[in-house]
């Protein structure tokens, strides 16, 4: 998608895609079949720029045909460079950072007041934690005891202009969320077993919202992209595209890509 459209956010899509796969193909009760069910789970892509991996997962989950992915970056098409409501499976438009957690609080609160079993998953970036609105919502989630809310930070350590710790250090995130009244866990954000174990065991503490600090690698899976901030929104040359595909293909025996290719049985 990114290579063809000559635009996109490669690094963050690769750092977050294992989290998306774990949610859509294992932990969440959210797919095209139950989209109209108010009791289903919800997902908010607060770091809206990591959209290419998100589109690929939504297509694989059956929200729209995979052939539609060719539409990405085409004039008048459905797939913008950030998620919109034109895309089946997208709950709320995003792209401006720091919005998703508050929307998630509203959804989790609605589920609580309606007595529904819905859980709400919100994926944010670590650079995004610099937005003050994130912390307004973090406070409200604890105030209302939203243990049906799971906030995940894709902690790849890099943002557009460099290391998060150097640009604006928002850490230590686990300690900060804990001090805001959240139940906190950390996991390898590329380890599907660790991720699904965390998601499936929420709520971790009754009455407390759940915060998962997912340690990830920006550009994960492509050696020359990993941990390089320039891949935040760089597009690969033809040569780089070929090498990246070769590397990802070679990794198919390594678990993550295999599970990805198999779709882990599809969305429940």
């Amino acid at each position: 998608m990114i290579h063809a459209a000559r635009m996109g956010h490669m690094g963050g899509s690769l750092s977050s895609v294992d989290i998306l796969v774990s949610l859509y193909f294992h932990s969440m009760r959210c797919g095209p079949a139950n989209w109209g069910d108010p009791a289903r789970d919800h997902f908010i892509m607060s770091k809206g720029h990591s959209v290419e991996g998100f589109y690929a997962v939504l297509a694989r989950a059956g929200f729209f045909p995979e052939s539609a992915l060719a539409d990405y970056g085409k004039f008048g098409g459905m797939l913008y460079g950030h998620p919109t409501l034109k895309v089946p499976g997208v709950e709320i438009p995003s792209g401006s950072l720091g919005h998703g957690l508050a929307v998630g609080v509203g959804m989790a609160l609605a589920a609580k007041r309606d007595g529904l079993p819905s859980r709400v998953f919100v994926l944010m970036g670590d650079g995004e934690q610099a937005e003050g609105s994130v912390w307004e919502a973090a406070r409200a989630a604890a105030h209302y005891g939203l243990d049906n809310l799971v906030a995940i930070v894709d902690a790849n350590g890099l943002q557009i202009s460099g290391p998060v710790a150097k640009v604006m250090n928002s850490g230590p995130l686990a300690a900060k969320y804990a001090s805001f009244g959240w139940a906190v866990r950390e996991a390898d954000g590329h380890d599907h077993a660790a991720l699904t174990a965390a998601f499936d065991s929420a709520p971790w503490k009754p009455g407390a919202p759940n915060f998962l600090l997912a340690h990830t690698k920006k550009g994960r899976g492509v050696s020359f992209m990993e941990n390089d901030a320039s891949w935040h929104h760089r597009t690969p040359t033809d040569d780089e595209y070929g090498r990246a595909l070769a590397e990802l293909g070679a990794r198919q025996g390594s678990g993550a890509a295999e599970a990805w290719a198999a779709g882990e049985g599809g969305a429940r």
Binding site: A102, L109, R139
Partner: protein, 318 residues
Amino acid sequence: MNAGKASCRHAFSAALLEAARKDPSIYAVCSDSKGSTALGDFEAALPRQYVEAGIAEQDAVGIAAGLARCDKTAFVCGPASFYSARSLEQVKVDVAYAASDVKVIGISGGVSYGYLGSTHHALHDLAVMRTFPGLEVFLPCDAASTAAITAYLAGSGKPAYMRLGRGPVPEVYAPELKAEFAPGRANLLREGRDCAIVAAGEAVQPALAAAAILAVRGIQARVLDCWSIKPFDVAAIEAAAEETGCIVTVEEHSVHGGLGSAVAEAVAQSRPVPMRIIGFPDEWAPAGSSEELFAYYGLTAERIAAAAEELAARAKGR
């Protein structure tokens, strides 16, 4: 005009409570603003449908959008100055772009807060809100119109911004008028063919009083209440231009981007006529009460009448 005064915000909270008693999916979201929005009764009567966000307008709008995604109709209520600036991006993205069933209720709009100063004034809200596609923008002028528009909002299913004043205001719509409030339709309050006075919100009452003054001087002014800033009644404005030959607009808003601009956009492209835009100029207002500021900037019956008289003479002389 001698009928008892009532505040729009109290009319709003009463109408919202009435609607929410019938429909449990109607929620109110406040940001430490239940006093200023007069929603204390709502919280006491329907606590399950009330959400307090604390002093955090961005969070309040985001929460309202989240509630709306889960089949609620969320009224997020607080000072217009904050909701049209601090949380403007949430209104743009989470409400308008997301087509959320959220109503942003800006209380104490314009210069309602008077002496509290420009931090608390909202004289830019119409200008920004009416540029967001899909967001309806309403500006009632009295208690009856506020109640009618609130009832519409409770069932519209669309995003909207409604600005309300703070203090008690005279009745414009007597119950026996049985006025209709259909979005996109201006209400004709007085017929006239010598000039048109187009107003909205709390400027409607002095506009009507100006027309009464003009009638004594032999000038028949048409008065339109453009409470629906968006969708806007372009046809009524074009007809006013065609049939009266000149238009004075009056608004409790910056002269840039509000009602006067909307009228100018309509007539300049189809039936250009002389216009005068009365409102707040490009400066920070001096210390003063709402009434003192209306007087200082010419939003009074006498000054509106004088402007209309001068404009009508100029239009006739062309």
